[in-house]
Symmetry: C2
Subunit: 336 residues, 2 copies
Amino acid sequence: MAATIKDIAQKTGLGLATISSYLNGGNVREKNRVKIEEAIRELHFEINETARGLKTNTTRTIGVVIPELNSVFCAKVIGRIEDTLRKHGYALMICDCRTDKVREREAVEFLMRKRVDGLINMPVDGKGRHLEKFRRTGKPVVLIDREINGLGCDSVCADNREAMKEAVKLLVENGHRGIGMVAGTQDVLTAQERLMGYEEACSENGIPLRESYIYSGDCTIESGVLGLETLVRNNPEMTAVVVGNYNMSVGVMIGMNELGLSVPEELSVIGFDNLQFARACRPRLTILDQPTGEIADHAARIMLERLGKTDCAVNAQPYKVRLKTALIPGSSVKKL
Amino acid sequence: MAATIKDIAQKTGLGLATISSYLNGGNVREKNRVKIEEAIRELHFEINETARGLKTNTTRTIGVVIPELNSVFCAKVIGRIEDTLRKHGYALMICDCRTDKVREREAVEFLMRKRVDGLINMPVDGKGRHLEKFRRTGKPVVLIDREINGLGCDSVCADNREAMKEAVKLLVENGHRGIGMVAGTQDVLTAQERLMGYEEACSENGIPLRESYIYSGDCTIESGVLGLETLVRNNPEMTAVVVGNYNMSVGVMIGMNELGLSVPEELSVIGFDNLQFARACRPRLTILDQPTGEIADHAARIMLERLGKTDCAVNAQPYKVRLKTALIPGSSVKKL
């Protein structure tokens, strides 16, 4: 027979209210805390979180909807968020929507039925229609790697425009003017911003924009391969390529290998993300590295704040956190 | 006011038992199913899964404990398991234990308190002590990429010994005899089996085993780098290296780059896993590729069977599924 809260009351001589307060994370005198914890250990008491969920209308779980668990960026960020939230007693329920808007909406509805206390989302639907119903519950939504205008959600992203401007600037400083871009899905703000950074840097440096220099991919490895092949075929005079996300950077390196092009002699490349991948490339790839640890820490902190689990005052306005990327030099940029 | 099961009964004229049976996945006549689904739509009825959990003593969630979410193998397998289980109404709660036995035990206890219906684990503790308490609940445990002798759990892994034998055999066929191995953590069965495969293949081919040819890493990228550096320093006559997991394969390629060694001229390499990484390597890496999709599908199927959610008879004996890896040729093996 499992021990109940009444058994703890009997054992400690404390009132049910005190014990309940302890179990729900409230303030309890030090002396009583020690007594309760002793009794919990001795009685092998375990909280029935399901029962508690019904009473407090919380489940102490946070839903996570991401495009692809099998993405180093997502896995790193979510792994670290999980770490922090677990320390506060929260579990994550993670749904992978395979970069599909219909699946994304289904995942959010699924998590609503699971009565999650909050949602962390890296949205595929750039308009955020899949979030409307959840938003009406009044529960917090924190977006990572995306911002959706007009939705009023908190968001944590890298400063994508500045990142891409910096990459183009480095190429220009090395004498490049024929610079192509393998860009991501253009209905996603992050990808738009990266493209915008590319365009701004070109115009600031007096480089005319050419449509044939921009390939719009869908952020997959295969679209990186195809993007590189297309840009090379259509622009024989091109000397450098910048890439709009990690998967497409892997794809561009595959494309370089499979076309037998040498880096940086025949084409200079600046990739997006993943230091370890950059180190394994030959020659080492120059990359824009996102601050995944910081992104995760901000997202977790904001979620805990919204759940009322931190001491800081709750910000009435949505947070729009923007974090700086780092340009990490490799040997993939040629001095012309 | 949210609609209840009674509202559905009133609307459809059906009994509560029929509707309850429908909601819990039982058999209901086609005619009644249509009626119930119409009523659910019209009344915007939503199941309160928390309340249901308390009544049925199930939560329709499966706990997952893995060493590292930020591992392509884990992310691929878990992403696909999530897909299948979600179709059956199950959510995954995923805990990443950072390859730490203490955190692993804490994660299992955390998920027990969350009353998960079953557990999927890629154990760090090769003895499985962290699972003992959970096993006593009688709920199913499915191990992936690991087997623990004597624990009586279902398990799904690649045939690691055969995989590594095949890699060494390919090197021998190409004239190599000085073959080193960067092996994984030796308290994990999978890593032991891969090392065993290496040793068997050596002795079958009359190659004497030398201690200095085996580096015991800990399955991280950094230990791959260090492993390669150590083997190269201690064995100048070595002509080839096989690697015991994906992260260490990335590390070995980083090490080759950072030591300025050319593949395969100075050293032939056979890596473990990840076709896309192999394609991005220059020259393309020859690899042993694990059947991640099949591993995920077997694990999900076994879990559903144990939960009583499939039609097949429940197997009384634990499953020990072993799946064949593929040796995918690249250009990283030199013919001597």
